[in-house]
Structures are given as C-alpha cells and as structure tokens.
C-alpha cells in the first residue's frame, strides 16, 4: 500500500482510530483514489464499475470480523461523491468502521459526500461507527454530506454510532432506515459544532415489520455562532416500538432547532419522542468548581461527559 503522509496518518487516527494498517478487510481512500485495500475470505471489497465507490460483500455467517473504510482528504479543492454499498449476509456479525477527515489548508472548499447503503440480511448484526473530522487553517470550507440508507431484513440488528466533534464547517446528514419484522435499530449520534459551522441531521425511519424497534438518540453541543438542526421522523407502520431523543446544549450564540416527529399508521405502534435544549446548568458548573475546577474546566468536563 502507498505510504501516507503525516497529515493523512493524523486524520486516519482521528476518524478510524487507525495508527497502522488495520487487521481484516479495509479500503483506504485518499484524495479521491484508493491507496490500500484488502479483502478477506469472508469479506470482499470490489470497486464499482459505473460510478465512484465500492461494494462490500460480507458472506453469511461471518462472525467477529471488521471492515475499515476510512476516507482522507488532505488537499484543498477536492469534491467527490462516493457510493458504497454493503451487503451483509444472513446471521453475520461484523464491525464496520467508516469515517472521513478533511484537512484543508487552502482556499478552495473540499467536500466529500458519502452515500452508504446497507442491506442487512436476516438475523445479521452490524455495528457501524462513523466519525467525521476536519482540520487545517485554510479559508476553504470542509464539507461533508453523508447519506446513509439501511434496509433491514427480519430479526436483523444495527447499531450506528455517528460522531462529529470538530472541524467540519458544513454538513447535511440524511439517514433513512426500513425495518422488517423483529429488526432492531439503535442510533447514537454525537455532534459538536463551533465557530460559524452548520450541521443538519435528518432521520427517516420506517418501522414496517411487527416487533421492529428503533431508538434514535442524539446528543449535541452548539457553541459560538454555530447552527444545528435535528429532524427525526419515525413512522410506525406495524406493531412496533419507536423512540427518539434529542438532547442539546447551547452555548454562546449557538442555535439549535429540534424537530422530532412521530407518525403512527398502526394502532399498536408505540412511539415516543423526547427533545430538550438548554444551556449547561449553573449547579453543575458550581459542583465542579467546589472540587477545584475553574468555570472553563468545569464546562469542558461537562461537555466531554455529555458527548462521550
């Protein structure tokens, strides 16, 4: 595999906790091209022929294996849309680590739009971790617009962890999921925006099968003059359980709009949403100050805990 420069290595560590070549299947994309790839006996990664992107095929019954597909953009002015499709065989149980980091030191915007589709077979379980990160002192923006579609067969389950803590100037994240009987979706989103950043996150979950369930939990912090929108629609089309929770801390002149929505199309659909927006409670800061922390240290600890 091609030797990566220091910036790319730093980004890989940030978005995928990778400090060396990962074990198992992987595809590392740097500035628009694949710079390293490995398939295993059970997990095959092949390039798409009609557009940019890859197909990841995971054989039925594959257990305890992982796939890493990080994306690194270290040049200014890169603009790409990438289509990645995951086919997860029945009863497989795998970890998928995606993530994208942009280091933009130039004046042109860099943008990565990752369109991920997951086809999760009967009884399969995946854990999907996606981290987004931006760095670089250039005036060019770091833009990420991920689209995630999840199609879940009977009794499959999917845990998604989506994290964007720092440095992404503009993001619109769209996540759609369709669940059949007994399928279970858990989403944990953690988001922090600062300076003049803007982040929009939309979820559209269809609970189509009896006994399906979804839990969408978002924790977000909006600092400085940043703006966030959280919009989650859960439709219960069968006897099912749906829950969404949006918990936001606002600081400085940060703005958050939370729009949780529920639609029950079946009398046995049980749907709940919770949304809360507020500043850090004064008593929390005061408690940590009595332990000897400064007001600023107390705020940082509270935010770190909240987003952990």
């Amino acid at each position: 595999m091609k030797e990566l420069d220091e910036t790319s290595k730093m980004i890989l560590a940030e978005v995928a906790d990778l400090h060396k070549i990962p074990v198992g299947a992987f595809n590392i994309r740097e500035n628009g091209e694949s710079v390293g790839r490995n398939s295993t006996a059970n997990i095959e990664i092949v390039s798409k022929t009609d557009k940019s992107g890859i197909d990841i095929k995971i054989k039925p019954g594959t257990k305890n294996e992982s796939v890493h597909i990080p994306v690194v953009i270290s040049k200014t002015g890169v603009n790409e849309a990438v289509y990645n499709d995951f086919y997860i065989g029945e009863d497989a149980d795998v970890l998928i680590v995606a993530g994208c980091g942009i280091d933009n030191c130039g004046s042109a915007d860099s943008e990565h739009d990752g369109i991920h589709r997951f086809f999760i077979g009967k009884g399969a379980h995946i854990k999907y971790v996606e981290k987004h990160y931006g760095s670089g002192k250039g005036t060019g923006k770091r833009i990420l617009n991920p689209v995630t579609e999840v199609y879940m067969e009977e009794n499959s389950s999917c845990e998604m962890e989506m994290v964007q803590i720092k440095g992404v100037d503009d993001t619109t994240r769209v996540t759609k999921a369709e669940l059949k009987e007994g399928a279970k979706l858990l989403v944990s989103e953690r988001l922090m925006t600062h300076d003049d950043q803007r982040a929009i996150s939309k979820y559209d979950v269809d609970l189509n099968g009896e006994g399906s369930s979804a839990d969408v939990v978002s924790r977000a912090v909006a600092r400085d003059r940043s703006y966030q929108e959280f919009e989650a629609t859960i439709s219960g089309n069968a006897p099912c359980h749906g829950h969404s929770e949006c918990d936001s801390l606002i600081m400085d002149q940060g703005v958050v709009l939370a729009v949780p929505a529920l639609k029950a199309n079946n009398v046995d659909a049980e749907l709940v949403h919770e949304a809360a927006i507020g500043k850090i409670a004064g008593e929390q800061i005061m408690k940590l100050m009595t332990l000897g922390l400064t007001e600023q240290e107390a705020e940082e600890e509270i935010i770190n805990g909240f987003l952990k």
Binding site: R219, D247, A281, E283, Q284, M286, K287, L288, M289, T290, L291, G292, L293, T294, E295, E301, I302, N304, G305, F306, L307, K308
Partner: protein, 251 residues
Amino acid sequence: MLELKNITYNAPEEGIDKAILDDVSLTIPNGKLTVITGPNGGGKSTLAKIIAGVIRPDSGKIIFNGTDITDMSVTDRARMGIGFAFQQPVRFKGIKVFDLIRLARRTENLTTGDACKYLAAVGLCAKDYINREVNASLSGGELKRIEIATVLAKNSEMSVFDEPEAGIDLWSFQNLIEVFNAMRENIEGSSIVIISHQERILRIADEIVLIKGGKLSARGSADEIIPMLMGTDSVTNTCNIADIWKGGAKS
C-alpha cells in the same frame, strides 16, 4: 481555622429584603467536628454556602487560615482546602461516578481501586456504581452518598456538609455516622462542619452552633446544647401532628 466576621446576608422575600443572616460572627477551629443546627429557614444552609463561596455575603469578612477569602471564587476556595457537599446534589448526563471522584482527587491517574474505596466508605457497593452515570437513574439517596464520597475524595482541610442526612434512608444512617466518626478520627490538621437537624449527628459533635432567626443563638458542647434543644422547636421545627385534627374533620 475559619473566622466569620459580622456576616450579613439578605434575600428578597415577597418583594421585601429579608435578613437571612444578621451580623453572624463565628470561629470554627481546626481539629474539631462542628455541627451547625437550628430551625428550618434559620440561615444554616446559607452560612454553609457562604463558607464555600457559592453565595456571597452582603457584608462581613471570611478569614481562612489567616487569609481573607471573602472575595475569592469558589474554585480558589476549593483549591485552598475547602470542600462542600451540597444538600441537593446535581445530576450530570454522561459524567460517571468515577469521573467525579477523579476530578475531586485532582488527578488523571486515579485507579478504579482507589476510587472504589470512597464509595465503599459511604456504603455503596463500589463495583455497581463506579461506572454509572451520575444521572436521573440514581435515586436521591444514592446521589447523596456519591456527593459525600466526592467530598471525602477531595480530602479538604475543611469539609462542609449541608444536611448530609437528607434523603438518606434510616438503614444507611448508621453508616453515615460511621463515615463522620472515621473522618473525625483522622481530623488532625483539618476540620469538619456539618449542617444538620439530626440528634445522632449532634451527639458526635465537638461543638454545636445554634443558628436561629439569622443570628448566632448559642454555642457549646453537645452536652450543653442538646438539652436546650429538646422540647423546643429548634431542631426539627415540625408541626404538632395533633394540629391536623384541630377543628374536627369538617375543617
């Protein structure tokens, strides 16, 4: 040693300033367990908060080990050696019990074993709690004991506990007394101040201070003060239960 000199504090009540503390002067010596007691609304908790810096007095001076700390921040007082256990501990989303104890110890390298001993000291099975979030899943009593554990972990020269017994069930109360007894055995060079209504806490005091109507009303040993409190409304200020039936069932 802590000296409070002519402390006055007013708070608005129904639009009119009411004196919560009125010219209170008090010295709290080292090496002693001091219990501040008195009726509800008498100013005890306000005094504790004034010591910790959570509220500032309208006038008067606070001297800690010879240094005037009246205008010092909560942080600076904590760093100088004042610890404070809140009467109503706050909850945090995401912060774990371990994190609070680590912050109280002011170290990045706290082992789980070290953290656990503070929980064990307040009667919590450490392994069940150390990784729990300090959030709404904890009961009031659990939260209260964790609050006390953080103050133990901070190991302050002066530890102030604001009504530690509030929210603690009877079963755990003996354990709480044992915690204070153990602190007192190791009190050398430090001091403990407890705001309390509880007779059993009053009994372990080296000195009791009675605050009533915003004024220092009496001070002395447990043997001197407790008999004065019994049979008066000074300790609990509870209603006479017979009052409920006064006037018959129709009223």
